[in-house]
């Protein structure tokens, strides 16, 4: 690069006035009970825990903590509904309920988006434009399959499994609930679902929607709690199927605990995706994809493009553009319509991210953070780059789950494939090039469940999603997403 740097003064003299999404219309109860058998019931031991807004650190509501007995009640309700109603119901009737839930999510999309941003910290732009519409679309999509399973798997006589125990993470609370519930219902199973303890509110709102939709009692049960509650679901002898999205550590525990049972299982776990930019890529658009890959949802995305590989011929130019682009990211109040990067989901997660940032500095990688101001209150982290990272750095090997990107350069296609695959994870990857043949060459060789080409972090209900190796197994979404909920 030339010695004289001609710098841009981005976002300098024209700052956007605050444009907060109205949250006055949001009605939250002081206390939320467990949704079991179509009713909201108090937890057996009467224990509740608080859920906070990570952007204001204010308490939003109290939520019931389900104990083993409550889990048992929920599984019994699900079993009862399965045997007496849901299993026997004609598939096209099942589909009508799923359609209805999809429509009701659309009708209440604004409310759901605002609550999602309040409870989880993600920017309203994302919850409004991505999470909530995608959640509705998953229900729409799987409603369509409900009475066509024979055609999805011709000649294989697909039948439902029974009761599905589902445990979902805090990064896409409503969307993950939709990913889990919609295919389970479409295939004729009943559900016990546990949302994450830091983000239970939209799942509980979904419980209200389900109640209002007239879905037969007990077909979907939503219970809140911590890891212990999740373990009780996994270990319950009358659960036929376990679906888990979350950390690799917990995934391994679940797999151990169901060993020796005939429970079916899908695990969607961590990731450390390679986002690979070749010299012939459209650079400005690749920069955009890198930003969407790592700063989308504060980097709390299992398929986040957290390892950037840049071919050496364009490395300086691309990094410069990436830094400039990062300067335009607005970090702050998740409810502001102009916010690009919201709040880190919890204090624990912020501590973990900061731990890795310190580690990266100690390992000798070059830290760059955008110069934006961050709010004093709440849990926030500046968009962060680590330049000159190496394959042996822990910030390259381990999942950080935050807005932190490790940047490595490469010379040849063989080198980058080897490095991209040299990781225990295999959930996703990105390839940027103007050459179609190069894309197909890469997709065949990258050990990743999803490979995006000239785009990143694109989701659609029709497209299967899932990983290799320590990123888990089983697929969600698309035709493939039906299979884990069926026996043949």
């Amino acid at each position: 690069m030339s010695k004289t740097e001609h710098t841009l003064d981005l976002m300098g003299n024209w700052t956007y006035a605050p444009a907060p999404e109205d949250s006055k219309h949001i009605k939250l109860n002081k206390k939320y009970d467990l949704f079991i058998g179509g009713k909201f019931v108090k937890p057996g031991k009467g224990k509740y825990f608080d859920t906070f807004s990570p952007s204001t650190e204010e308490k939003l509501a109290e939520v019931a903590e389900a104990e083993e007995k409550d889990v048992d009640l929920a599984v019994k309700a699900a079993r009862n509904a399965y045997e007496k109603v849901w299993k026997k119901m004609p598939a096209k009737e099942r589909a009508k309920y799923i359609f209805r839930i999809a429509r009701m999510i659309q009708e209440r999309s604004r409310e759901l988006a605002v609550i999602e941003s309040m409870d989880g910290g993600k920017p309203i732009r994302e919850s409004r434009d991505i999470d909530v519409p995608l959640a509705a679309n998953h229900f729409f999509y799987y409603a369509g399959w409900a009475d066509k399973l024979e055609y999805a798997f011709p000649g294989r006589n697909p039948t439902s499994l029974g009761v599905a125990g589902q445990i979902i993470p805090w990064n896409f609370p409503l969307l993950m609930a939709a990913w889990k519930i919609a295919p389970a219902l479409a295939t004729g199973n009943t559900v016990v679902l546990k949302p994450a303890e830091t983000t239970p509110l939209t799942a509980l709102k979904l419980a209200e929607i389900i109640q209002e939709s007239g879905l037969p009692d007990g077909v979907v049960n939503i219970i809140t709690g911590f890891g212990k509650t999740g373990a009780a679901i996994v270990n319950h002898p009358d659960v036929n199927k376990v679906a888990f999205t979350g950390s690799t550590d917990v995934g391994k525990l679940i797999q151990k605990s169901i060993a020796g049972t005939d429970k079916k299982i899908t695990l969607e776990l961590g990731g450390k995706a390679a986002n690979i930019v070749f010299e012939d890529a459209p650079i400005d658009q690749a920069v955009e994809g890198i930003v969407n890959g790592i700063f989308f949802n504060q980097g709390h995305v299992c398929c986040a493009g957290s390892r950037l590989f840049v071919q050496e011929g364009i490395a300086n130019e691309l990094i410069r553009k990436l830094k400039d682009r990062m300067e335009t990211l607005i970090v702050g109040n998740p409810l502001d319509k102009n916010t690009d990067v919201g709040a880190i989901n919890s204090k624990e997660q912020l501590d973990k991210i900061n731990h890795y940032i310190k580690l990266g500095v100690n390992e000798g990688a070059d830290l760059f953070q955008s110069s934006c101001a961050i709010p004093k209150k709440g849990y926030f982290c500046k968009p962060t780059l680590f330049l000159h990272a190496s394959q042996s750095h822990r910030i390259v090997q381990e999942e950080i789950f935050g807005p932190v990107l490790a940047v490595q350069t490469f010379r040849t296609i063989e080198e980058v494939i080897e490095k991209a695959n040299n990781i225990p994870y295999g959930l996703s990857a990105g390839v940027w090039t103007d050459k179609g043949s190069k894309i197909f060459n890469m997709t065949g060789k990258l050990r990743a469940g999803v490979v995006w080409a000239n785009t990143y972090n694109k989701f659609d209900p029709t497209s299967p999603f899932g990983g290799y190796k320590e990123s888990g197994f089983g697929r969600e979404g698309g035709l493939h997403g039906l299979m884990p909920y069926l026996k043949f």
Binding site: L8, Y16, D284, Q285, K337
Partner: protein
Amino acid sequence: MSKTIPDFKQSPTIDQVSIEERVARFNTRSIKKEAKLQGLKLALNMIDLTTLEGKDTEGKVRQMCYKAVHPCDGLASLPTVAAVCVYPTHVKTAKDALKGSNVKVASVATAFPSGNSTLEVKLADTKFAVDNGADEIDMVISRGEFLEGNYNFVFDEIAAIKKACGKARLKVILETGELSTLDNVRRASDIAMYAGADFIKTSTGKIQPAATMPVTLVMLQAIKDYYYKTGIMIGMKPAGGISTAKGALQYLVMVSETLGSKWMTNEWFRFGASSLANDIILQLEKEAKGVYYSKDYISID
């Protein structure tokens, strides 16, 4: 600073899908209150108030020039527009009508709008406008030659016109509506800048589509790359099709987030438009008085 002329066949490629996504994201920015007021005034101050019709007369040009200096005298502290844009034969009239103001006179030239003429004619056209006092020349490139791949021809023509401009600033119109792909828009932008353009401009306004946000974004990115490499700032002028205040604010968001505050002045960014000014005035009236006025309250010149 020296600049090496690159091989224009190697101009960066553009991914249209991503460009459109980026534009959509600019358009989700919510511009309210002070930011809106500041943006609207800035946009008004960036307008090249334009009349480019066969039926243009001295009377029409004089009336438009008055409007350029007095966009709305009923509203306090409004800026003037940046320039008026006319055919070469009306430059003298405009210059005279704008005497004593800061409003510049821009003239289209080079066999506008098709550009299908000889270099002699184009040079004479340019010189005539400059001699009559034009501060800025808006030339068109030879799109036929460009599409045939004769990039040197296009380059040399721009360089020759630039020389003929003397002190007048040169805006080079790519007529992106005829270039068909964003790859071509990028390549034509690179040719124009390296050949000596002070501004690059999307359209004549005579071809549809005229200015669009995706096309403008590609050109802004070309300007950014040129600035990175040479340190030379090039101006940008989307022209045609921008008629609403909201649309103008969206363009400003794009400029602000792509090139930054150095370009947020009418020295480096212009809107080529005829009806945009009145929509901005309508919005500013609303901000000042709290109600929307009927269009009959705002002068049409």
